[in-house]
Symmetry: C2
Subunit: 336 residues, 2 copies
DNA sequence: GTGAAAGCGCTAACAG
DNA sequence: CTGTTAGCGCTTTCAC
């Protein structure tokens, strides 16, 4: 049986109120009394029961993270950033993995609310939950911060990476290096792929080149590597990769890795004959050979910022913000 | 203000005791009474406050996971397995990342105990915490299950993958395929590397071959890929890789990937001239070109099993178990 | 079958 | 400065 505030009070010869006061330091306590109490606390090794505390204070010092997947290196770094920031600030974190299912996401959020977590971070929320108004009700009950995902004209708080900027920078870099015909690789459905495709098409048009969009199945799962490889190999039968087209830009590093593998198999030298640039800067991009040039989304910062924002809401009240996290072009070995 | 059991009692015209009974179904309640109460619960959309519940029941329906890292694909899959099993069985999970620091690990465990989680899973515990007796005190307070890590003659509950068997199988496979001179790659310090080295040396001796152990800095971080690559390239100056030595076995897939990258750079064809076999079967092993042959540790199952064990302890009482999870040789493209 | 009342461990008026 | 008391929302004796 753990020691309670009562035991401490008895040991110190004071009331439990006094003990409570020295624990919380929110009311004046005479120095000698405090010392007596502190001695008792130490002697008995007393830890206030957070459950009892929460019951009256209506604060649990915990936050919930809802994330589509954790085997995906992208999300993993975001979670890492959140965890560190939150823990450093005295919050424990609950984790719920939705596997990209929008119903699961709702269930997860509702369960966190029932648990009385102090706030929730949803990483890459399902677009339909954003659009359906599900979250508009939720934020009435509890502060929520979203990391990336669909956010156009949405009255909710987001931490977003400036993908447009980063993607444009990557494209411009390729162009500056003399690449005129650039292949674009995207997954089947995602807000972020749509944005990038739009930018790509406009860019290609602006330089008077022709567009080649390769769309592969899945987008963020392991399979996308293989899918991209196969798609590119198939594509290479019609068009001379390395001659007609000298560069490729992918919506994420998984796809870029798949493209790299295709070149490997086709005997195309990267970067000498063909340049590849990815997106995200997941750890994988440093493990390939050659190492991938990519656009750093700074996922860890994305996580930290969202946690920072959430803790602010918890402590000072909710409001709607959009925080932009800068992306950064990382030049490694896969393009020249 | 959320609706409480009082509101329901009032609405249904019964006492809160009765409401509590229909919620928990632990005492007989007349059918019509129950229906009245259920109607009220539904009407008011009542959710029992888990904090209040925990305070009296001394059960939080939550477990804590302590893990060294989450950007490491290996741990990530373990956590995934735990999360799924626990959630499917009504438990929420707290996550704490220690970054491989044994002090952090202790703090994490203690914080979970203070939070009154119902049980704790420690993935790859720090050997010094195991040996120092830290955990022997802990299990007196709360059930704990460990996933892998040092466990020889340790009186604690472990879920362990049969690394010895898997590693031996990989070695035998290589030998059967005609490889006599096999290079071994390990990281600097880890119980699991030591075990593998021992097996390797015995095996090499048994087939009358000579041993080559390459030890690289770090073991489970991103850098190990690069470190292994460099080590192998350096090594290749003295000994003809692909001629004198035709195969390599690594302690994990990160190192195997590094070796693969080295071959790539050295112009050595894998698997035609040189065979590589990894360990773990992290997702990365399917993303390389050629895809890595490896030993599947079945990390997801490791996670699930540990959760299963823990929930059993929570519900039926703690005892000491050692559960072995089988490994499996996965032949893909990197060896022949 | 049902309800009154005590209490889980703590905080926060309210008195003094 | 310090103590008494009333809860927070729920479960669980103990009576009836």
């Amino acid at each position: 049986m753990p020691v309670t505030i009562n035991d401490v009070a008895k040991e110190a010869g004071v009331s439990i109120t006094t003990v409570s006061r020295v624990i919380n330091g929110n009311y004046p306590v005479k120095k000698e009394t405090r010392e007596k109490v502190e001695a008792a606390i130490k002697k008995l090794n007393f830890q206030p029961n957070p459950i009892a505390r929460s019951l009256v204070s209506r604060k649990t010092n915990s936050i919930g993270i809802v994330v589509p997947s954790i085997t995906n290196m992208y999300f993993t770094e975001v979670v890492d950033g959140i965890e560190k920031y939150a823990r450093d600030h005295g919050y424990d974190i609950f984790l719920n993995i939705t596997h990209g299912n929008h119903k699961n996401e709702q269930v997860a959020v509702n369960k966190f609310i029932e648990r009385y977590v102090d706030g929730i971070i949803v990483v890459d929320p399902q677009t339909e939950n954003i659009l359906s108004g599900f979250y508009n009700d939720v934020v009435g009950e509890i502060p929520v911060v979203f990391v990336n995902g669909y956010h156009e004209n949405i009255d909710l708080s987001f931490v977003i990476s400036s993908e447009e900027k980063g993607f444009t920078a990557a494209l411009k870099h390729l162009y500056k290096k003399g690449h005129k015909n650039i292949i674009f690789v995207r997954g089947d459905s995602s807000y972020s792929y749509d944005i990038k495709e739009k930018i790509y098409k406009e860019f290609v048009k602006s330089i008077g080149s022709k567009e080649v969009v390769i769309s592969v199945n899945a987008g963020n799962s392991i399979e996308v590597v293989e899918n991209t490889k196969n798609a590119l190999i198939k594509f290479s039968k019609d068009i001379k990769i390395g001659l007609d087209y000298t560069a490729l830009i992918a919506c994420n590093d998984l796809m870029a890795t798949g493209a790299l593998n295709a070149c490997h198999e086709l005997g195309i030298k990267v970067p000498n004959e063909f340049s590849i640039i990815g997106f995200d800067n997941i750890v994988l991009s440093q493990m390939t050979s050659p190492k991938l040039s990519t656009v750093d989304q700074n996922m860890r910062k994305l996580g930290e910022k969202s946690a920072e924002l959430l803790l602010n809401y918890i402590e000072k009240g909710y409001e709607v913000d959009k925080v932009l996290v800068e992306t950064k072009l990382i030049l490694r070995e896969s393009c020249k």
